[in-house]
């Protein structure tokens, strides 16, 4: 049975990587075909009917009708708009398909190992990226963030590609320190928070791009406003999405760190021992607290706050990659 499941899991992970890659190509086509399109609120129509009416007040992160004010605007043909949009829809459908296969891959990996699939770098990578993919699909439904499609699929392809090619390890046992249900609580909270942090970071990147575009356009109103970036929501809207995602992730991360501390108390007899992994979890926490502060501090809103968020994400990734690979300490069980 173990062999069968392990085999299934490997095939699913390869397939998911390929499907995400196709989704990414579709989004590339979406961007490319929008090269000559004027900024317009097409994306506003994408709010799915699934959003309950009561959520509508919270949800409209779609571009509100934004008059295309740039010079030389001409009406784009519906056909040209539809062509770009169609590839966007294909990209999203493929991402959802990829998510399903990805989920199957993680589940069968867990069945093969007869435990939660969180025992090695490879398993952390496939589970963590699953959280990213799921967070994206949920948020597309809630906040219509399909404009993040290219960045998200690009991220997923990179992480899964590295996981499958570089990090892969056959199914192995868990070391005794990991035999604890706190592992399940701690890691699932951390993974979900990580998925949201990733979406938040990608949204912050897009915010910075779009914001730069808007600043430039304000200085040169005569330039045409064409291309995919002009078809995303205004920078302030993207910033708001980024904030909400971060605001969701931060308490969850706080909880994940707390669960880790309680588990450490059971396993090693101390809540907090400044082990490298703990240090970086703390640094990430402080960095995101600084992000939330920056958003409320005069002179730090906007771009500066977005950079702080990206800094927080960098510390999060470093904890996963840097400390697991080069670090020592009690947490060095990641089977690299």
């Amino acid at each position: 049975m173990t062999e069968t499941f392990a085999h299934l899991s490997n095939n699913a992970m390869y397939s998911a990587t390929i499907v995400y890659a196709l989704a990414m190509l579709a989004h590339v086509a979406e961007w490319a075909l929008a090269r000559d399109l004027a900024g317009a609120p097409v994306l506003a129509q994408q709010r799915p009917a699934l959003v309950p009416a009561s959520a509508a007040e919270d949800a409209p992160f779609t571009a509100r009708a934004q008059p295309p004010t740039g010079a030389g605007e001409t009406e784009d043909s519906d056909e040209a708009i539809e062509r770009s949009d169609r590839y966007g829809r294909i990209g999203l459908s493929l991402t959802v398909l990829g998510l399903l296969i990805h989920t199957a891959g993680v589940l069968t990996r867990g069945l093969a190992a007869d435990r939660v699939p969180w025992g090695s770098m490879y398993e952390f990578a496939i589970t963590g990226s699953l959280a990213v993919s799921a967070a994206y699909v949920v948020l597309v439904r809630r906040y219509s963030i399909r404009w993040l499609g290219l960045l998200v699929t690009g991220f997923l392809v990179t992480v899964l590609g590295l996981a499958v090619i570089v990090l892969y390890r056959p199914v192995g046992p868990l070391v005794p320190a990991l035999h604890s249900y706190w592992l399940v609580i701690h890691v699932s909270a951390a993974a979900i928070a990580g998925g949201a942090f990733t979406i938040g970071a990608l949204a912050s990147v897009l915010y910075l791009l779009r914001n730069r575009l808007e600043v430039k356009a304000a200085a040169r109103p005569d330039l045409p406003r064409r291309g995919f970036l002009w078809r995303t929501p205004p920078a302030t809207t993207i910033d708001r999405v980024a904030y909400r995602v971060h605001a969701f992730a931060f308490p969850l991360w706080t909880f994940a760190v707390l669960a880790g501390a309680i588990w450490a108390e059971y396993a090693w007899g101390r809540f907090w021992g400044w082990d490298p992994k703990e240090v970086w979890a703390f640094i990430t926490w402080v960095a995101y607290a600084a992000y939330l502060h920056a958003r409320a501090t005069a002179g730090w809103q906007g771009r500066a706050a977005a950079y702080v968020a990206l800094l927080g994400f960098a510390t999060f990734i470093f904890n996963f990659v840097g400390i697991n690979m080069f670090g020592s300490g009690l947490h060095a069980y990641s089977g690299m």
Binding site: E57, V171, G172, H179, F250, G269, H293, A296, S328, G329
Partner: protein
């Protein structure tokens, strides 16, 4: 935003001349103190201190820390003799208790207190406050809509009141001739959540400090079959809090009756320990009955608030040392500390009673010995082919002063050498005995025991930081998900018709007041009494 700009403006308020006050020679001491305090408790300082704290935490994750891994610190000092004095002086091996790290977090705490107290005062004063009156010019707000209708101002106001009340807002109606204004506000819990969060952070910091102050942490290695009694001398490593009193040690004892470890033998992950656990016989207090305890990873033994954790294990090879006279100078198991996952273990054997000279040995234990590229190594962590590789010394062990059992002081020792004059490696399989040289004595490797590595600690009041973190999370949820918003609906009769204005103002960023105004306006525009929520999408 709103609050932050208040906070930012604060330091400038007293002097009124921010530029000059920075240079400060004219300030009287009290003014200077007040200025400093305002700076310290400003939002920007808090932000900078948070950054500093994050940066200051980094070196401790890259440079080995005495509290985390003392042997790694020794190794580091060995490798970097030039850096060591500097690092020692600036506390690089104890970053998290160093002066500079403490300074940053004490400043942050001070800033936190200075930040919370005034806000707490404002919050208490404003408790139960009514929604503020509408600004004179609603159209100036960015979230604004206006239209004309045939309903009377009073009718519009009444419908607005019902609608806004149903949305769980505090609502006031001001009604006068020909005009009616509805003011609504919600999100009072946000500030409460935010205050709770920051207070809870304080509780956590203070709680952790107190727990450390009155508690202790220690490590002990106990050989399977041996006993442990909870007294200072039985610890290999003991870190008391500043207020800890050794007589507070709970007087329990236990023996390690048996120890089991199971390894994954083949397939992926071979050599990983699957489980390890120990059977203990515990006596809580002298005279109490003995009870058994099955000690496992993640399942500590708790006696009178002191917890005993199983954190590791290793080998204790049994050796017998005979001196030149053939007398047994030492016999028994000796703890060898595992160096890595293959359980190659390092240890020291001391035979102070040997005559004519004291004897000492230092070397490695290989549980499954093999040759890897010419050097001895262990290919599996279980003891399939145990081999002991030692170098022997004679002379003075230097035992007059205190000395670690894991270190051989070689200052006054001379190694046994090969005819070529190099230190001679003594290779012993289980059951073998080798001679150190004619009339010098022998050493034999009689077998091995296993030992358990225990971490023993007491953290009185550890519930305080726990409750603190939970309160922090609750506060955070309130602080991040409650979005205070003020809404105004004004209806005025103009030329026989009623002009209705709706406007909203958020007190924090991240919300979308315009969408809210859309919803309210859409509901009020529809004639009749249909103000229910499902009309919200009317604007689309």
């Amino acid at each position: 935003m709103s609050r932050s700009s208040d906070t930012e403006a604060a330091p400038r308020a007293p002097a009124g001349e921010p530029e000059r006050s920075t240079t400060a020679p004219a300030l009287r001491p009290t003014e200077f103190l007040r200025w400093t305090w305002r700076q310290l408790t400003s939002m920007r300082t808090a932000l900078i201190l948070l950054f500093l704290l994050a940066v200051a935490a980094i070196p401790g994750s890259l440079i080995p820390q005495t509290r985390v891994d003392p042997s790694a610190v020794f190794a580091f000092k060995d490798r970097h003799p030039q850096l060591t004095p500097l690092f020692e002086r600036i506390g690089m091996f104890e970053v998290y208790s160093s002066v500079w790290f403490s300074a940053i977090y004490l400043l942050l705490m001070l800033s936190l207190v200075g930040c919370i107290i005034p806000r707490l005062r404002v919050y208490v004063k404003a408790f139960g406050a009514r929604p503020p009156h509408a600004p004179r010019n609603l159209a100036r707000l960015s979230a604004y809509e206006s239209w004309a209708t045939d309903e009377s101002p009073r009718q519009v106001a009444e419908r607005a009141r019902v609608l806004l009340t149903r949305q769980r807002r505090r609502v006031d109606v001001h009604d006068s001739d020909g005009s009616a204004v509805v003011s609504a506000e919600k999100g009072y819990l946000r500030e409460a959540g935010n205050l709770l969060f920051h207070l809870a952070v304080l509780v956590v910091l203070v709680g952790v400090a107190l727990t450390g102050l009155y508690g202790f942490k220690g490590k002990a290695a106990v050989i399977s079959g041996d006993g442990f009694s909870n007294t200072l001398i039985q610890y290999d490593d003991f870190t008391p809090g500043a207020r800890f009193n050794p007589s507070d040690l709970a007087p329990f004892t236990f023996t390690v009756d048996d120890f089991h470890v199971k390894w994954k033998r083949n397939g992926a992950g071979a050599g990983t320990p699957l489980t390890f656990d120990a059977d203990l016989s515990v006596t809580d207090r002298p005279g109490d009955p003995v009870h058994p305890y099955h000690l496992q990873v993640n399942h500590p033994l708790v006696v009178d608030g002191t917890s005993v954790f199983l954190i590791g294990h290793g080998y204790a090879p049994k050796v017998t040392v005979r001196d030149g006279d053939g007398k047994v100078a030492f016999s028994g198991p000796v703890i060898f500390l595992p160096q890595d996952g293959s359980f190659v273990s390092y240890g020291v054997v001391k035979a102070p009673d040997a005559a004519p000279q004291q004897l000492g040995f230092e070397g490695y234990f290989f549980p499954t010995a093999s040759l890897c590229g010419g050097a001895p190594c262990s290919t599996f962590p279980d003891a399939d082919n145990p081999v002991l590789s030692l170098i022997g010394y004679r002379g003075d062990l230097g035992l007059d002063g205190p000395q670690s059992v894991y270190v051989l002081d070689k200052d006054k020792l001379k190694p046994f050498t090969t005819p070529g004059g190099r230190p001679r490696a003594l290779l012993l399989r289980e059951g073998e005995r080798v001679s150190l040289g004619k009339g010098q004595g022998t050493i034999s490797f009689d077998g091995y025991d296993r030992f358990v590595q225990l971490s023993i600690s007491r953290q009185p009041g550890k519930i305080v930081p726990l409750v603190g973190v939970l309160a922090a999370i609750v506060g955070l949820l309130g602080s991040l998900f409650v979005r205070p918003r003020r809404t105004w609906v004004r209806a005025i009769t103009v030329d026989g018709r009623t002009v209705v204005e709706v406007a909203a103002l958020d007190r924090v960023t991240g919300g979308d007041p315009a969408a809210h105004v859309d919803v309210v306006a859409a509901a009020l525009r529809t004639q009749g009494h249909d103000t229910s929520e499902d009309r919200k999408d009317g604007r689309q």
